[in-house]
Symmetry: C2
Subunit: 329 residues, 2 copies
C-alpha cells in the first residue's frame, strides 16, 4: 500500500522554510512477527521540533538525519498487526513522524478510545508531562507565591498557569495577542495576562506583580526574559523549558547577567522532557485529577491534512497558533 510522508531534507539556518522538507510517497512494509502498522489520525506539532533539526552535538537526542521522515508525536489506530499487545483497532500514541502510516515502535502506548483526542494530545501526553515536571519537579511552587509564565497561551504555558492557580499561586501569563490574553483571563482564570506586543511589558509586569516574581516558567526567551528576570525576588526559581524566540536564530541572544543570580540567590534550571518519561504515570494521575475537577481547560488549533504541517509548523514560532497545534490526517 502506498502512503504519503514528509522527509527532512535540509537543515534550516534560521527560519523553517518549505525546502526544509520534501513530500514523498512510500510503501507500507510487509510485517514481521512482533510488528504492527499504525494509521496516524493526529500529529502533534511542537516547538522542540526546531531543536531536533539542529546538528548540536550537545543536544539531548541526535538530530533528525537528512532524508529521514520528519520526527513528531502522534495518535493513530492499529490497522494490521503481528503483535498481540497491539491488536488491530487499538488506539496508540507515541513517536510517529510526519507520515500517514507508521511502523509501530517500542515507545508506543495503547490509550483508551473514549478519551477525546484533544485531551490526550493537549493535556495528558507531552504538554502535560512537560508542565508537570517543570512546575512540580523543578520549580516546587508554594501557595501564595507569584508565578509568571511566558508562552502562556501555548500548550505547556496554559497548563502551567492553570495548575499553579489550582495550587493557590498568583498567576501572570505573557502572550502575544489580546485575544490570547482574554482567553487566559476570562476562560482559564489567570490573575493577569499581558500582551507583550502591545503593552509596555516592564510597566505592566510591575503593576501585575507589585511584590515581585517568585517563579518564572520560561517558554520563549526573547526580550521578555530580561524584563521578567529583573522582577525576580530573592530565592526566586526559574525553569527554562523552551526558548522559542531563539530556536530560529543562528546565534542565540545573550541571557541576563549572572550578578543577580548571585545576589538574589536565584536558581535557573533547564530540563527536557525525554529525561523525565519515568514521571509520566504520576503526571497522568495528577492531570486527570485536575481535568475531573474542571481545573484544566484546553484548546487545540487543528490543521487539516499531512501537507499542512509544512507551513503550519511556523505558527509555533510566529505565535499565530491558538492553542495546541495539531494536524488531523
Amino acid at each position: 500500500m502506498q502512503y504519503k510522508a514528509i522527509t527532512f531534507v535540509k537543515r534550516p539556518i534560521a527560519d523553517i522554510t518549505a525546502d526544509t522538507f520534501e513530500l514523498v510517497t512510500l510503501e507500507t512494509p510487509v510485517l514481521k512477527d512482533g510488528e504492527f502498522l499504525v494509521k496516524q489520525t493526529h500529529m502533534s506539532l511542537d516547538p522542540a521540533m526546531r531543536t531536533w533539526m539542529q546538528d548540536n552535538p550537545n543536544s539531548y537526542i541526535p538530530p533528525i538525519a537528512i532524508g529521514e521522515v520528519m520526527r513528531s508525536f502522534g495518535v493513530g489506530e492499529v490497522v494490521e498487526s503481528k503483535n498481540p499487545a497491539f491488536p488491530v483497532g487499538a488506539r496508540v500514541i507515541g513517536n510517529t513522524g510526519w507520515a500517514e502510516y507508521v511502523l509501530g515502535g517500542a515507545d508506543m502506548q495503547v490509550v483508551p478510545h473514549d478519551l477525546p483526542v484533544e485531551a490526550l494530545m493537549c493535556v495528558l501526553h507531552v504538554p502535560g508531562l512537560t508542565a508537570y515536571v517543570g512546575l512540580f519537579e523543578v520549580l516546587r511552587p508554594k501557595a501564595g507565591e507569584t508565578l509568571v509564565v511566558s508562552g502562556a497561551a501555548g500548550s505547556v504555558g496554559s497548563l502551567v498557569g492553570q495548575m499553579a492557580k489550582a495550587e493557590g499561586l498568583r498567576v501572570i501569563g505573557i502572550a502575544g495577542s489580546d485575544e490570547k490574553c482574554r482567553w487566559l483571563e476570562d476562560e482559564l482564570g489567570f490573575d493577569r495576562a499581558i500582551n507583550y506586543r502591545s503593552a509596555n511589558l516592564a510597566e505592566q509586569l510591575a503593576e501585575a506583580a507589585p511584590n515581585g516574581v517568585d517563579i518564572y516558567f520560561e517558554n520563549t526567551g526573547g526580550p521578555i526574559q530580561q524584563v521578567v528576570f529583573e522582577r525576580m525576588n530573592r530565592f526566586g526559581r526559574i525553569t527554562v523549558c523552551g526558548m522559542i524566540a531563539d530556536y530560529n536564530r543562528e546565534v542565540p541572544a545573550p541571557g541576563p547577567s549572572w550578578v543577580d543570580i548571585n545576589l538574589k540567590a536565584l536558581r535557573v534550571e533547564g530540563f527536557v522532557i525525554v529525561d523525565h518519561y519515568d514521571k509520566a504515570p504520576k503526571a497522568v494521575e495528577v492531570l486527570t485529577g485536575y481535568l475531573q475537577k474542571g481545573q484544566i481547560k484546553y484548546r487545540a488549533h487543528v490543521l487539516q491534512g499531512l501537507e499542512s504541517a509544512i507551513e503550519g509548523v511556523n505558527l509555533l514560532f510566529n505565535g499565530d497558533n491558538q492553542g495546541k497545534l495539531l494536524v488531523e490526517l
Copy 2:
C-alpha cells in the same frame, strides 16, 4: 581613647578610588552593661565589599550608608568588657569594620587563641563557609566528576578546589598569573591550572577537560564565564558565588544564552553566605577535618596598617593579591 577608622563617603560608580573613603578619628564609647570593646588585630578584605557599596534595592543586605565606618569582618581582642560572655583578653571574630576599635556586637563569636589567625580567616570563617556551602549544599559533587573553579587562587576558589580534590573530583583552576597557576598545581594539587591572561582559554580548557565540565564554581564572571559555560556537560551544575569582574562595572555584562540551560538541563544557582550562617558549625567541623589531614593549605596576603585597606582593597579586583587578603593592624 581616640582611634582611627575609615568611613565610606562616596558610592563608587565603577572602580573603588581613594575618595570612596575618609580617614577619621573617633572616640571609644563609655561601655554600658552588656557591652564590650574590641581592639581589632586583623581585618578581612573580601570581594563582596564591592556589592555592599552599591545601592541595589534587590541586594541581600542594605548597602553601607554614606558616612558609616566601612563594613568588614575581622578578628580582635576584648580590651574592656561589661559582658561576662566576652571577658577581657578573649579573642573574637565577627563584623568589625575598618576601625582600630570596635564596640562588640551580637554577631561576634569567641574563638580559641591557639589557632593561627590565618587559619581562622583563610579557612574557618567566611571563605571556608562559602566554599563549603557552594560545593556541598549547592553543587553536590560526585567523585569522578570534573570541576572548574574560577578565581581559583582566591580565598574561596583555592578551598573549593582542594575540597573537590579530597572528594575525588578532577579539578581545573582558572587564575590570573603563572605564579598562581604554579601554586595551584604544585602546592595545592589541582589537576590543572590555566592562566586565562596568557593562554587561549577555550583551547586549554578543551584539552584539560576532554570529557567536558560537570561542575563550575563561578567566582569571577567576565569572559571566562562563556568559555566554561560552553564546555558544560548535560546535567551540569553551576554555582554563582561571585562576579568580581562585574562588580566594578556600571552595567554588568550579559550572561550566556539560556538555550543550553534548556537543552543540556543545566542548573545555575546563586547564593550569598549571609543566608547560610546556620551551616557554620557543620562547615567548621568538615574544614577542620581537612586541615587535620593536611588536605587544605592556605596562604594569606597581609597588608600592614589600617590605611593600607584603602588602596589594598583593589588588589581583589585587579587580581594582584596572592592569597586571602588581610590587613594587620
